[in-house]
């Protein structure tokens, strides 16, 4: 029998690695790492985990998730909560909030995106991506110009670095999309 790596097992493994205290503390030592590495990796763990969804359950979910809209709404709302400077602070100081982060980011952001993105058409994807770009640019700008530390646990320089990278991310997504629109293949469905 061929030993196939099951994606959902990889998701569980990734989640477990991220939860190891030294790994967790390393990623939470900087605002930039928590927001742009730890939280995205937790979402990735949930995304991989969703590959293990049994077919019958995936069908039941799909019945309530026309074009992936419900799932992307859920992921956007959960994402908004973890973008609050307060939430990032509290995830360091309060064990209950840390647990909420480790459960909600994979299950309420990564997994719904995995179940919804393939079902989303051109318009839904476009709206979602426009919101991602706008959020990256808005928050990036805020972090870059705020003279005050927005997180009590992080340094101002760290916050400004995060701001610069988020502006770069927003700009990069725009460039990739522009490239796709001009020269790529797009299925308008």
């Amino acid at each position: 029998m061929k030993l196939a790596v099951r994606p959902w097992l990889a998701g569980v493994a990734l989640w477990a690695v991220l939860a190891i205290p030294p790994v967790r503390h390393a990623f939470e030592s900087m605002m930039t790492l928590q927001m742009l590495v730890q939280i995205p990796l937790l979402a990735l763990a949930g995304w991989l985990l969703a590959w293990g969804t049994p077919a019958w359950l995936a069908q039941r979910v799909a019945d309530w998730n026309q074009r992936g809209i419900s799932g992307l709404v859920l992921a956007s709302l959960a994402g908004m909560v973890w973008m609050l400077p307060r939430a990032m602070d509290a995830a360091l100081d309060e064990p209950a909030i840390a647990l909420a982060k480790f459960l909600s980011v994979p299950l309420l952001i990564g997994a719904p995106v995995a179940l919804s993105w393939p079902r989303a058409g051109f318009v839904v994807r476009g709206v979602f991506l426009a919101e991602v770009i706008a959020t990256a640019l808005r928050l990036g700008w805020l972090y870059l110009i705020s003279p005050e530390r927005l997180c009590s646990n992080y340094l101002l320089g760290d916050q400004q670095l995060l701001g610069r990278i988020m502006l770069a991310i927003g700009a990069s997504i725009i460039l990739v999309l522009a490239w796709k629109l001009m020269w790529g293949r797009i299925d308008v469905t």
Partner: protein
């Protein structure tokens, strides 16, 4: 059918999401920990435990002994060379502007070190001298043991982060403790006029 069900689920999710966001931001008022700490203190005054302190003269006192008057409290570490140097100056200014109530024993200024391992009484005295402390009414002190420091920082919501250069970055502020020993307000560290106004308003008969 699937469209209607999706609409229904999405509306429920949005309603739940707004509810969670409202909860997480104290009704869309506090997006940062610092704002939240100020709102919580104002709306739910916290009792300050009667923890012991060692003052710049080496004497012992405690938060219990300091009850019965208004306390304006700042958290410091004396090696700080950045804005804390101005923070100390603000306290000297408070000492001038509140000279009357201080002399009457109705107000005391208190600088508490969150770096007690290095801030011995001599350092605390030097800090006060450096920032122009005059006469009585301004106590500089350090918590007596590490557990007390942790508890005190928890009650006041003080967070100090190592700045990578041997110092700290901290959420400096002027905290107001009322005569019953309750933390009732937190102001910007450079808002001495606001602190004076707050206390004078409540001292007026």
């Amino acid at each position: 059918m699937s469209v209607l069900r999706t609409l229904l689920v999405s509306l429920v999710l949005v309603a739940a999401g707004v509810g969670v966001l409202a909860e997480a931001t104290d009704g869309f008022r506090a997006y940062t920990t610092e704002t939240a700490r100020r709102i919580h203190v104002r709306e739910h005054p916290r009792a300050v435990p009667p923890l012991p302190l060692q003052t710049a003269s080496g004497a012992r006192t405690d938060f219990g002994a300091l009850r019965g008057r208004w306390l304006l409290v700042e958290f410091i570490y004396t090696r700080c060379t950045t804005y804390c140097s101005v923070q100390g100056g603000e306290f000297a200014r408070l000492q001038d502007e509140l000279a009357g109530p201080i002399a009457a024993g109705k107000v005391t200024l208190l600088s508490v070190s969150f770096d007690p391992a290095r801030d011995d009484p001599a350092s605390l005295a030097r800090y006060q001298r450096l920032h122009g402390a005059r006469g009585e009414g301004w106590i500089a002190a350090r918590p007596v043991d590490a557990a007390d420091l942790t508890e005190l920082m928890g009650v006041f919501g003080v967070v100090a982060v190592p700045d990578g250069l041997g110092g700290f970055v901290h959420n400096a502020a002027i905290a107001v403790v009322d005569p019953q020993g309750r933390l009732v307000a937190i102001m910007d560290w450079d808002d001495a006029p606001g602190a004076v106004h707050y206390v004078m308003q409540r001292l007026a008969p």
